[in-house]
Symmetry: C2
């Protein structure tokens, strides 16, 4: 199986690594508009060779679009215009706009919309790691619009990455992703900004970070290239959940200001319920 | 060296484990008003025996107060009333009120105010682990009020735990702790509350959590027994930094709502600067 990966970053690169290692891919063709990324990907053997996107498509069985979501909506229709029997996957973090961009495309069946729920705060080809995806969930969206052959192939691919598949439509996906993933990033970006503004002594941040700051702020290292388009594409859902988040903070603020220990105990006990869910809700 | 640990939870228990293991303590005496915790601590050999606080003090060289901060301000003056040559340490997360509670005590010199900057989201004797403190910083507060003998002994103790010592006065401590540690916990509690409210399907939270939620929400598992008194004791500083946090969120909200990608890019790039500091600012 020959696979081309468009976008040689953390996700595309990590998929390339695992798919080659476990034998699902016999060859990985890399595509990236960033020449430095192409060179890096070649030198660390993330990909076997680099081609322009049209030639890569011609020579591939599967093409994975692992580029920021605002580029997916442009590139995906172009790729589907050229497609023959190849299967196209995107791995973007928002799904509604992508879905709409090819809704009526005659080759829509060749495309499977997926979102592997894995990542780190690092980016670029050198961020790619083995086993990033193992035992994490992958969301398939709008599967009724994909051909059964394409679905079968993409299911096999994610099976090889060790990912259980969950089905949702694009609307549901974007809603749940805003609730659980996108808001986490916003809370973390705001936390980094706050501490950078309030705490002028970098040494203090470093020394005190083990008091909890380091884990909550980890996501604030994530790149604007990836996250700006996610927030703007999924604005309605993100704003909705962000408003709830701000109102929860205001409630906590109120309890602290009035020294209402009972209310604070209740609020924290309620928040503790997340423990049960993250353990295993099944 | 005989050490008594008052409060057999995560911090007290983990100190007991390491100090016994590395030979700094020949015996650990446990003190806790919670009988179940006493039994657990004995059965997992966290402590050698259990005594009431007054007898424990009589038989100890060092007493560590590892109880929630609202209890420290009550227990510490009582302990200092009984003290002879023993050295008393607290390990609380706020320092100003504690400091004031014994400011003019004739035995103030026997007391060293410390804050080891380490922890996990778990609590109780069974949460105690080895090497919790290694290479994390410990803050010493108001060292000019401690006797040089007491300071020497407590420095040795933390050296044995592998912790570099940083000096601050209590006011500075509470300010910096609010900036870096306390606000992280608030952001995490609010995140847990938001997701629990918006996302009714627990399975979705579990499946999507690897999208970043799991790391930002880790601290939301922390107990109200510990955190309610920290927030109320350190209210002024916490409210101040919380207001900055909320205003940062509102700025992000504004940029998303107006689809201002340039502003969002700037905001995220600014937040990314935390990367440099957390790596190593020295």
């Amino acid at each position: 199986m020959r696979i081309s990966v468009v976008g040689l970053g953390l996700i595309g690169g990590s998929m390339a690594l695992d798919l080659k290692k476990n034998g699902f891919a016999s060859e990985i063709i890399g595509v990236d508009i960033n020449e430095k990324h192409c060179e890096e990907a070649l030198s660390i053997k993330l990909v076997d060779r680099i081609l322009p996107i049209d030639l890569a498509l011609e020579q591939s069985d599967i093409m994975i679009l692992a580029i920021p979501v605002q580029h997916i909506v442009k590139v995906l229709p172009e790729v589907l215009n050229m497609v023959k029997s190849q299967v196209i996957i995107d791995v973007g973090s928002t799904k509604q706009l992508t879905s709409e961009s090819v809704k009526h495309h005659p080759s829509r069946g060749n495309f499977v919309a997926t979102h592997p729920m894995a990542g780190t705060e690092f980016s670029g080809p050198t961020a790619a790691i083995n086993n990033l995806f193992r035992s994490k969930a992958v969301i398939f969206c709008d599967v009724e619009l994909s051909s059964s052959e394409a679905l079968k192939l993409v299911s096999d691919l994610y099976f090889c990455l060790g990912m259980p598949i969950i089905n949702m439509n694009s609307q549901e996906h974007d809603l749940h992703a805003a609730y659980v993933s996108h808001i986490s990033h916003i809370s973390s970006f705001a936390l980094a900004l706050t501490v950078l503004k309030k705490e002028k002594d970098a040494q203090n941040i470093f020394n005190l970070a083990s008091g909890g700051f380091d884990s909550t702020v980890r996501l604030a290292k994530s790149s604007p290239e990836m996250w700006t388009p996610i927030f703007t594409q999924n604005a309605e859902n993100v704003l909705n959940v962000l408003d709830t988040y701000i109102s929860e903070l205001i409630q906590i603020r109120e309890a602290i200001e009035t020294q209402n220990t009972e209310a604070l105990n209740d609020i924290i006990s309620e928040a503790n319920k997340i423990r049960k869910i993250l353990k295993d809700p099944r």
